[in-house]
């Protein structure tokens, strides 16, 4: 009971409360939403420790067993300790780790920023290789995909307009009419599917998350 029924009841009650507070502005019900969301943030914050536990555990195991690539595991753990160490130091010395000029922000500026930006920029390469491979006029559907992509690509750069003055206008039209129509259809489906899924969860029909 404690392992299944009570959790299902908790899900049902919190879910119901969230629905009710949407319709009742009066205090205190209407204010529950924001309060509970900050609770959510707090609980989620705690769970990060579980993640760290898993990550460190996995790599310590690799180290113990001297599995291939254990050297990199050392780097990973050192990186983790570096971030935590600089963070705690900055918290104490500067009052907040995010204070400008703190060593933690140095780490952010010269490690996190370039790593994030470079991983992100890999997309410029992958978008090219994916386009090359997938945009083949095999079927009517694939041809439409290809033609729409090419027109919009040409409509976005000055070069396209230089080739044919109407490319920007045509691209704009594709975005605002056929693209909007299909996106809308997909979103209506997603909304209904999400609604049904949420309902199944509240009613306890969908309970895989409690396996």
């Amino acid at each position: 009971m404690m392992k299944r029924e009570i959790p299902l009841l908790i899900t049902f009650l919190t879910g119901l409360l969230m629905v009710v507070q949407f319709f009742v502005p009066h205090r205190p019900i209407g204010q529950i939403g924001t309060g509970v969301l900050s609770w959510y943030t707090i609980i989620a914050g705690f769970t990060l420790l579980l993640g760290i536990d898993s990550l460190v555990g996995m790599h310590l195991k690799k180290l113990q067993r001297k599995q291939s690539g254990w050297g990199y595991s050392i780097m990973l753990i050192l990186g983790l300790l570096l971030a935590l160490g600089l963070g705690i130091f900055s918290e104490i010395k500067y009052g907040s780790a995010l204070a400008f000029g703190s060593p933690f922000m140095y780490l952010y500026t010269y490690m996190m920023v370039p790593l994030q930006a470079t991983m992100f920029s890999l997309l410029a390469f992958f978008i090219a290789s994916a386009a090359y491979r997938a945009f083949r006029a095999r079927t009517l559907e694939a041809s439409l995909l290809l033609v729409a992509a090419m027109i919009v690509m040409l409509g976005r750069v000055p070069l396209g307009a230089a080739i044919w003055g109407k490319f920007p206008i045509l691209a704009e039209w594709i975005m605002t009419v056929p693209n909007a129509a299909a996106t809308r259809g997909i979103l209506i489906g997603v909304a209904l599917g999400g609604l049904a899924m949420s309902l199944r969860i509240l009613l306890g029909i969908e309970r895989t998350y409690l396996s």
């Binding site: 949407f22 769970t47 993640g51 760290i52 995909l145 209904l192 998350y209």
Partner: protein, 388 residues
Amino acid sequence: MTEDGETRKRRVDQGLRRVLLVFAWLALLASTSSAALAPPEIIKAFDTPNDAGGSNTITWKASPQDSLLLGYSVKRSAKLEGPFEEAGVVLKGQEEFQDAGLTDRQTYYYRVDARVLGDSASSAVAGPAVPSAQWFNLGRVNILAFIMLFAGVVLWYIARAKKGAKLFIRRIAGLDAVEEAVGRSTEMGRPLMFIPGLLSIDDVTTLAALTILGRVARKAAEYDTPVLVPCTDPLVMTTAQEIVKQSYSEAGRPDAYREGNISYLTYDQFGYAAGCDGMMLREKPGAVFLQGYFYAESLILAETGHSIGAIQIAGTTAVDQLPFFVTACDYTLIGEEMYAASSYLTREPIMLGTLKGEDLIKLLIVLALTVGVLLETFGKHWIQALFQ
């Protein structure tokens, strides 16, 4: 045009602009100094509807000189005769202000001033307005009605399913591929990889993904193929561990379950992508499942998965990322198909019942759309109003 001509033209332009500027200033001065600055009109002040109390709403019709103004200053007083103090400022062109932080059941009066630099013109006083809280948000009654209708239809189909009615659901292409992917991975002696997206378990897409994971893990356990699940959210990780463990015991192989295969990487979006990419390159999974809610990292993952020759089955409700999955993966569950997949895979009649309910509502929506556009064509906005 010669360069000389161009400079001359520019000079003339500048001269013209200066003259115009002087005129504009004169006009503004004239309008402000001679008290001709027109105040806003038709001021109304009333309790803000459908709120938690403590707020009044003030509306007005913009001053005829709206375009010359800096904005409007809304003034409040407890008495009709004043003194008035500033409740807030809004930009020109706006005709409404909500005054919050008030005391319920107290009387307030309002005035709206049109402002230019160094001068203003006051409107007539409006009020009294008495803030109060409401127990039901009347503006959302249509949403409540729709949710009740939806729940009713779904519950009715569930009841029918429980009684044993046969419910037909068409095949979903990506789903049949699940079994094929697991089988092929096994033949090649490679593990499976399941990437559950970027969001946490408060997101229903992620929960649908986890349901799919349960079925994939069940198949994998039967074939004795390991399932790698790198996670960016610790809650998703722990939940996934439970689900996979359960699937292994359902398949009668609890001993084959390895908790270490379901691991946390990092909360950072691209750090997670970098870690997943590395894992793909080194573990060489035979099949990669990209199921859940994704952002820009979708294509980084899918292209890397393709490069190692894995069968890729994607599914997401993130419309922005669907184009990338469709181009880079072998199968993609598009939007609602993903939700459908999670109920379809279980083959439980109750689950199929909710799908049937969704379809009936879909029919009703198409009906409303059809009637609605016809009515719109004749200038009637009845259906439009229902969805306000």
